[in-house]
Subunit: 322 residues, 2 copies
């Protein structure tokens, strides 16, 4: 592999042709006070978040999109990012080339600038992205009110199913086309930036679902001192998820997987009943599905109601690294 | 170990009591457009930048100070940071407690806020910090002119010597007090924030010495299309470094170590001859040593002149991870 300076010049400098990075000539990037900002940071570690067989182009896109999803949950617009990479010395240069191709494609897609970062050797691949987004004065808060309903964007669980079906040891036999659908949903989330911005002024609490709906909702409940009640029969599932539900249920608690695995990168948000008519009237042409799944009330915690109107609970709520 | 959410609540939330982080209740922190910013990011990886025996309090301070040094080189003032930590599941909670104590002490010392971050399990300890600093309209650039001299702050090489002496396998026998002096210089750099700010309007190129004087100077030369000439007999050494120079030279190229190892976290900067009188007149009470070590001229690359006025070169210029 060529040395550090040459790698940066060859692969990362072309991604950093912007005023803020000053062609990476300084120790830090310059951010002018043109607007308020949000700043967020997420990492992905080999053998924890992905395995070494992952396609580097997809990996690059995923680390960006995971951070973009945080911007979406704040109603913010993408601005730029810093990228820290630790990688093994024996990694092929083709890997870096493909990784940077993924960065380049998503920089264009999401109008995102590379501001700088750090490159190091490491026994395992380690990625850390810090992303800046621009916001208007109003931004999405994370405190709901008792008079609000709970909504989610898109479908839940597709990413979790993709993770399971991507494991070599899974015993579920399905058509290749269906497996590919789910694996793609796991590898390439679609951050809900447009909806996030549309929610400004309407939603009083919004998060992206990274740790599982239940855990992310619990956080909103904690912040708001409220109880959330959600209904299983209102949780939006893709056609494909409905199709394979029975197969999955042979080995796995389907609903626990859908509601607790995480990595959906959909938005869960609350909206006061009074604001819903005007919001949905104004956004009736929106292509992304928005589904009401429950409501907030006085109390605490998340209550899950099954199809027979009984409260249920799961063994493991959300992913914890420790 | 307690789970992720509890760890954050117990150890990191108390460090994040600021408006920007909103008590970590959102997916991102909010930065108001009160001034222009610089933003920089650096990482430290177990077995690459430190070994597992390192005192966690010192490790926390070092990852902050490495980033603070980047702010210093831009003439910027500390504002806040995001912290990503990957750490083994079996790490003792005492480790986290001590690590956070180090963060807390340096947050106070440098007037720094924790804005947020990410926590994950990982086979090795992985740290990534992204730091924001405030700047005035003018900031330190990295392009020198041919009419400028080259200066450094403090002494060079103490950190490199500390690294060598801290290795268990080194065969150099010295008084414990002297060893401790160097090891401390390696573990706890002192970012030159005050001098960085004073240089605004006077220096036309400034970098912090992280990769070794020669490599960092080469970067300024590249940016400026200039040649740097420096003189070994003008390189500032600590009294202790002078004392052990002969011992070190038995096994190692002393000057290569001092000029190429890096991690000094001193500033190397250039200043036009016309501005030097007024700068040094205004800063004559400055406690930190500033030493002229050479000059810029038309040409390219770094020329090193030894005590006999002969140009010399080193085998390995600066640290490259690849």
């Amino acid at each position: 592999m060529t040395n550090e300076k040459n790698l940066i010049k060859k692969y990362f400098l072309p991604l950093s042709k912007n005023l803020e990075s000053q062609n990476l000539s300084n120790d830090a990037a310059i951010i002018k006070k043109s607007s308020d900002f949000v700043v967020t940071s997420d990492m992905m570690i080999e053998e924890v978040h992905f395995d070494s067989a992952i396609n580097p182009k997809n990996l690059a896109k995923k680390i960006l999109r995971v951070n973009l999803s945080d911007l979406a949950s704040m109603g913010s617009s993408p601005y730029g990012y810093l990228l820290n990479i630790g990688m093994p010395n024996n990694l092929k240069e083709k890997w870096i080339n493909d990784f940077c191709l993924g960065l380049s494609q998503d920089q264009k897609k999401y109008d995102l600038k590379l501001f700088g970062g750090d490159l190091s050797s490491s026994s395992k691949i380690f990625l850390s992205v810090t992303m800046l987004g621009k916001i208007k004065k109003k931004f999405l808060k994370s405190k709901s009110t008792a008079n609000s309903d709970i909504f989610v964007t898109g479908n839940l669980g597709d990413s979790a199913l993709g993770y399971i079906l991507n494991q070599k040891k899974n015993h579920i036999k399905l058509e290749k086309q269906i497996v590919n659908y789910f694996v793609k949903k796991h590898l390439l989330p679609s951050p809900r930036l447009d909806i996030g911005r549309r929610l400004i002024g309407y939603s009083n609490a919004c998060r992206d679902i990274s740790d599982g709906l239940i855990k992310d909702l619990e956080d909103i409940c904690d912040n708001s001192n409220l109880k959330a009640t959600i209904f299983l029969n209102q949780i939006p599932l893709s056609r494909n998820a409905k199709k394979i539900k029975q197969d999955i249920e042979k080995n796995t608690n389907f609903w626990e997987l859908v509601l607790c695995f995480g990595e959906d990168y959909e938005l869960v948000f609350s909206m006061d009943k009074k604001k819903q008519n005007i919001f949905f009237e104004q956004n009736k042409k929106l292509k992304t599905k928005i589904t009401k799944i429950g409501f907030f009330s006085e109390g605490s915690g998340v209550e899950i109601i099954d199809n027979k109107k009984n409260p249920i609970s799961f063994q493991k709520i959300g992913f914890s690294h420790f």
